[in-house]
Each structure stands twice: as structure tokens, then as C-alpha cells.
């Protein structure tokens, strides 16, 4: 008899354990349960992201904000915020897309403060790009060590990006946010807020915008908005209570930007005062 035929018969007579079918079915069911959860969760996040986009679009409706994504004209002749450096490159393991904003002063104006801010922005952005690239390298190693192939890795689209958005600008003040993003995990998404007064040459605080009573004013307004959050019948509030570390008080570290009407918009990171599915939570504070 042909030796391969005999070997093949021996191979095909390897006993199949009864538990094999259960193990495979179990794995598929487990994956489906997890997948349903993930899909549901993703939909909620998409809705939240969409409402944030709509909010941002609303903020930018006025003609003065039509160019918010790019350059703004020098209003009142003092300064402008514009893209000072921009690059887009495809590296071996990631696509890097960066727009770094900077403040450009009119000739003759004092540059110290804006130079200092520009340097800080530059340093922070570079640091985040390095962190992002390093995270992708670490993830790549883990991916390959756990059975992922180079081809599968190459098919992934990894991104490190830095972008900014101007939220408010008048003759002397500007408010903009810088967002850094690494595609492998939401933990690598960070937002930095810049609220500057280029006449006074300083970073604006909530006190500057709301007065000495700023803490009480913010807290009362935020509490009121949390309580007024619309719920469907039977739905419980997405905001954490005190036992889960829900909203307590604003302080000097609380992030904010200046909204289109000049009022501060207080921002809480995803998952800090409400369930993660709510995304970043923002409250417009009206004095």
C-alpha cells in the first residue's frame, strides 16, 4: 500500500474528543455576547460624538467663526492664531497627521508671552507624538508576540494626530483647544485648553470670567443642569452620585474653554463624572 495513504489513514484516525464541539461553540457564543455589548456601546458613543459635532457646528455658525478650522484674520490688529506647522506623513507603522497652532503677534507687540505659549504648545505636541509612536511600537510587539502576523499588522491603520480648534476670539482674548489622538486606545486621546488674554499677557481663569464668586456660581449651575438632564421613563441618570465620585466642585484644575457668546464652557473628561458612554461632558456657565 502507498505509504502516504497509510500515513493519511493513521492521521485521520486521530480520535476526536467529544468536548471539541462544545469548546468551539462556547468560544463563538462568548464572542457573540461580547460583540453585542461592544456594538451597543459603540452606537451610544457615536451618538454622543455626533451631538458634540453638532454643538461645535452651532458654535461656529457666526461668520466670524466660519474659518475657525484654519486661520482667522487679525481682529483689531493685535494677534491671530494660525497653523504654524503642519505635516502629514505615512511612516512604517503609523500615519502621523499634525497641525500645530501658534500665536502670531503684529509687529511691534510684546512677544514674550506669546513666544512662551508657542514654545509650550510645541513641546507638549512633540511629547504627545513621541508617546503615541512609542505606544504603537509597544502594541505592535505585543500584537506580533500573541500570534498576529506582520501582514495583519500592516493592514491595520494606526494614526497619531494632533489638531486644534479655535473656540472664541475677540480683540484681546482667544480660546482654543488642542486634541491629540492615538488610534490604538481611547486612553491616548487628550485635550488641552488654552484661554489667553493677549492684552494682559496672561492665561485666563474662571475667576477672570465669572468673578470672585466663580466656584459657587459654577457649582450651582452644573448641579442644576445635571438635575435637569432629560431622562426617558425608567432610565436612571448617567451621572455618578457621590459614592462613585460624581460631580462635587470645580477648582483651579477644572478644564474650560470660552464659548461663542463669551461664556465659559466647563469640560469634564470622559468617565470622570458620568458613565463613559456620555463621552466628554460640557456645561455652559451663564453668569
Amino acid at each position: 500500500m502507498n505509504k502516504w495513504k497509510r500515513a493519511g489513514e493513521a492521521y485521520n484516525s486521530i480520535d476526536i474528543p467529544e468536548t471539541l464541539a462544545d469548546r468551539v461553540r462556547l468560544e463563538i457564543e462568548r464572542h457573540e455576547r461580547a460583540g453585542k455589548f461592544r456594538r451597543h456601546y459603540k452606537n451610544i458613543l457615536e451618538v454622543c460624538a455626533l451631538s458634540l459635532v453638532l454643538l461645535a457646528a452651532g458654535l461656529n455658525l457666526s461668520p466670524a467663526f466660519a474659518d475657525a478650522a484654519g486661520e482667522l484674520p487679525i481682529v483689531g490688529g493685535l494677534f491671530r492664531v494660525m497653523t504654524v506647522r503642519s505635516w502629514h506623513e505615512s511612516e512604517e507603522d503609523a500615519t502621523v497627521q499634525v497641525d500645530i497652532p501658534g500665536i502670531e503677534q503684529t509687529p511691534g507687540a510684546t512677544h514674550d508671552f506669546s513666544d512662551q505659549m508657542n514654545q509650550e504648545i510645541e513641546m507638549r505636541v512633540q511629547e504627545k507624538i513621541e508617546e503615541g509612536n512609542q505606544a504603537i511600537q509597544e502594541y505592535k510587539e505585543a500584537f506580533l508576540q500573541t500570534g498576529g502576523s506582520q501582514e495583519e499588522w500592516d493592514e491595520r491603520e494606526n494614526t497619531v494626530s494632533v489638531s486644534y480648534e479655535i473656540k472664541y476670539q475677540n480683540e484681546t482674548r482667544v480660546s482654543f483647544v488642542i486634541e491629540t489622538y492615538v488610534s490604538i486606545a481611547s486612553a491616548f486621546q487628550e485635550t488641552f485648553f488654552y484661554n489667553l488674554d493677549l492684552m494682559e499677557n496672561k492665561t485666563l481663569t474662571l475667576r477672570d470670567l465669572l468673578g470672585d464668586n466663580w466656584i459657587d456660581l459654577c457649582n450651582a449651575d452644573i448641579q442644576r443642569q445635571i438635575e435637569a438632564y432629560p431622562l426617558e421613563s425608567g432610565e436612571s441618570t448617567p451621572f455618578f452620585d457621590a459614592s462613585l465620585g460624581g460631580f462635587d466642585t470645580v477648582d483651579e484644575q477644572t478644564s474650560f474653554y470660552i464659548g461663542q457668546d463669551g461664556n465659559p464652557v466647563v469640560v469634564f473628561p470622559r468617565g470622570s463624572i458620568a458613565i463613559g458612554a456620555m463621552g466628554v461632558v460640557e456645561f455652559i456657565i451663564e453668569p
Partner: protein, 164 residues
Amino acid sequence: MLRISYQRLTEYLVENQEKFYRLAYSYLLNREDALDAVQNAVCKALEKFQNIRNAEALKAWFYRILVNECYDRLRARGRMQFYSPEELDLGSYEDPTPQDDSLQKKVDLLPAEIQTIIRLRFYEEFSLKEISEVTGCNINTVKTRLYTGLKKLRVTMEGEDAYE
């Protein structure tokens, strides 16, 4: 190109689970290890199936995951010996000469990379192109390694003794 659906994948996995188990067992020679290897490979395939662009590549794609899973287990046991690509090409590894000279047992004594080529070719009837996709080697390398592997086994493609 036709993208694979999730349902098509799960059907494929269920229909062919016995083949997967036999292949895993042939490397690991242990029931529990082979069951674990199949289950893990199924898990990885379900997690990564969005990455597969072409439904026709499904078979080679899954076997690649499964074979790598078996290699990982052999490595963890210290049972996978390292051979350079040249050694694998030239057949510079020990002759499989067990007391019991059944061809199947001799195959078990070849380097794991050569076992893969031989099992997929003769037991699972993969084409050389499919083997090349599973192993990540080009088709000429697959041919060379198959040829030197058969020489080691002293047997031809047709199953006749090669050197008598």
C-alpha cells in the same frame, strides 16, 4: 473583492473543527493542549476576522493562526527547535529514524516547519500556493523544503521508497 461575513466564518469554523483538532494534535500529541490550541485559534479568528479582505483566503488565513498557535505551545514546552531558513532549505537537520518506521511517526520527528508543509500537503491536500500562504514562505521555498523533507523521510511524493 468579496468580504467575508461573520456568519460564513463561524460556519467554516464549526464545519472544519475536526480537521483543526487533528492538525493541532499532530504537533502537540496531547488531547488537552490540542483542544486549547483550537479554542484559542477560534478566539483569535473571531477577534480579527475584520482584517481578512478576501473570502477565498479564509482557509489559509485560519490555518496560519492555528499553526502559529501550535508553534507557540511547542515553544513554551521547549519542544520547538530553532532552525535557520538555510538549514530548513538544505535539510540540515537530523534524520528521522525511529525504531518504528511508520511514515507518520517519522513526520513527527521533522522540524515543525517541515511537518507543517508535509501535513498540509499530504493529509489536508492543500495546494503549494495555499501552503505558501499559511507558512508565509514563497512558493519556491515551500517546494524546496518539501523536496528536502521527503528526502529525509526517504520517500517520494507517490509514497514509494526513494532510496532502495
